[in-house]
């Protein structure tokens, strides 16, 4: 089924781009999206309303949101799974409440990825998972399809979690990238250069005092795949009434202790200009809570990236 859907996508793309083909439909600009995300959305298990929504229809609904969330509506740009929100100015999001000084770029971005999973909203439940567009894409698909079967079928109902869709933008994009006549995705280019992690890299980490290894994710905005203007505009050092600085590269992981779960982000000394930090700094957020009011910051947390021997690695780690 998945291969069939992809074949249809390819054929339709070729046909729609073919020179001289007659068309009575509106001429749409091309739409560029991560091929890995499109692949992930072909999983039939994420469709909770397969009796009413086809897999391609659901995929088109999910895919129509990110351009309006993160590329300013430019559909020929591929939304980056690494996208970090830049419009929060709450002092709590900065280490030591430092909004203007040397440490201001130890900064917690609340909104992550193509669907902007904000921890004050739809991303509150997720930690490291927010940086994986396979996970978040599935979540969006299950949310939309589940609500669809419970009666939220109008476009304004379907797109209600995303403000960027408030004025019909996502509906228009959906109509451009989905052909109901052939139940296929159309006017859609698969960007093979953008993976589900968008340039973030899975590593193995430990706390030096503790033996258990865990998977962490290394997020370096310099390696972002897809549309990455968010990393440079405004400038990484910006700290204004409207814009936040860009975080230095950081490690992110999810920690679960019994019934308590946290999202952690850690900045190690190698990733910050010497001598701003003489030790790692870190922040944690209880999953379910909003980082703007719930962050705890630490300057005592050592983290060792055992994959690359970076951070505070003791001999023998």
């Amino acid at each position: 089924m998945r291969r069939l859907a992809r074949l249809i996508l390819t054929l339709v793309s070729v046909l729609s781009l073919g020179p001289g083909l007659p068309t009575t439909a509106p001429v749409y600009a091309d739409h560029s999206s991560s091929g890995a995300i499109i692949d992930a959305l072909m999983d039939p298990l994420i469709n909770e309303c397969s009796s009413s929504l086809t897999q391609n229809e659901l995929a088109a609904l999910v895919l129509s949101i990110p351009w309006h969330e993160v590329t300013g509506g430019d559909t020929d740009l591929t939304p980056s799974p690494m996208t970090l929100s830049r419009h929060d100015t709450d002092p709590q999001l900065h280490y030591d409440f430092d909004q203007t000084g040397a440490t201001k770029r130890a900064f917690w971005h609340p909104g992550i990825g193509p669907w902007q999973f904000d921890d004050g909203g739809i991303g509150a439940w997720a930690g490291r998972e927010r940086f994986d567009s396979g996970v978040t894409g599935h979540y969006v698909a299950r949310n939309i399809s589940g609500r669809y079967c419970d009666g939220e079928t109008a476009f304004e109902e379907i797109f209600v979690p995303w403000h960027a869709c408030d004025n019909g933008e996502c509906e228009a994009t959906f109509l451009a990238i989905y052909s109901s006549g052939t139940d296929s995705l159309t006017h859609l280019t698969e960007d093979s250069q953008v993976g589900l992690l968008g340039g973030s890299v899975e590593r193995t980490c430990i706390f030096p005092q503790i033996d258990d290894e865990f998977t962490c994710l290394y997020v370096d905005p310099a390696n972002a795949q897809g549309f990455d203007d968010w990393a440079t505009t405004p400038s990484p050092d910006a700290s204004t009434s409207n814009d936040s600085p860009l975080a230095y590269p950081f490690y992110v992981f999810t920690q679960i202790i019994g019934t308590d779960a946290y999202e952690w982000r850690v900045w190690i000394t190698e990733d910050t200009p010497d001598p701003i930090f003489d030790t790692s700094v870190a922040a944690r957020r209880p999953l379910g809570s909003n980082s703007r009011s719930s962050l705890e910051w630490f300057s005592t947390v050592g983290l060792c990236d055992t994959s690359e021997q970076r951070g505070e690695c003791l001999p023998g780690c």
Binding site: G151, A154, E157, P161, Q209, T259, S299, T300
Partner: protein
Amino acid sequence: MGATRNRNLLFRSPLLISLAFLSVLASGIAFAQISTPSTAPPEKQLPLLPRDPKVVREAATKNPAGVPAPNPDGFKSLLGYTGRYFNRSGQSGRVTVLEKTVSVLPGSNWQVVGLVRNETDVPIGEIEVSAQLLNSAGEIVGTANAASLVRGIRSGEPAPFLLGASVPSGAVASVKYTATGKVGQSIWRDFELTTYWQLPYGDRPRRDAFLHSDPQAPPYPYVIAGSVRNMGGTPVSPILVAAWLDPEGRVIHVANLARPLLKGKEPASIRNIGSFYYANSDPVIAPKLVEAEISYWAGASA
């Protein structure tokens, strides 16, 4: 760099609890005993949200040095409840008003909002909260009682309450609270609650779309929207309640959340997942809500 900087942790003072207990005994008012059905088994499993197994495998399960253990009263995301004060450690065996969460609401007459917690090891149908209002001479000037706004309260779970009396706020110098648990019908609590967004009260871009349309002119109301997922697969009509807490952990507002009316559909019934919303235009309360921490409860008749 500087020393570890933590958010102020919320904790209960054993001394204050002891004093409160002694004062209640001295006044001849006993903490209420709960009517416990003899067949109710103690609750052992916490109502955890199902998690991606991949995440569990990857989790770091221990804290590094210098990081405090989780606060037992800290924020938790559980089935049917998201917020602070869900705590099964140090249970008293009673239902207890969490007095540090209680705040007096604005208004000429006395009215308070707060949390009461099931500190027994069995679920409770609902909790009756009572208050004796005392003046500065220690004389009773009024009483109030009301049921918790949530039913089917699990072991360790807090529940919001709202109490009011026709007594001027200025006449009340102190309050003695009691709480009584009652057996009730079984309540389905397996819901996952998510916030979509909040809109602040006041002058902001006007919204005119699904779930909420602003009035023509500001001040626009505070609005919150989100979703509730039914984990059971059988259609149910959940009751949704939210409480807003200030930075000190005091409840400043509670409200029932509304489900949208959908064309051709039973509005309240949810098989999979549905949206909710709430708006408030009170110029005293509404400006405070967007900065507050939100707790959610969801439950439906089983």
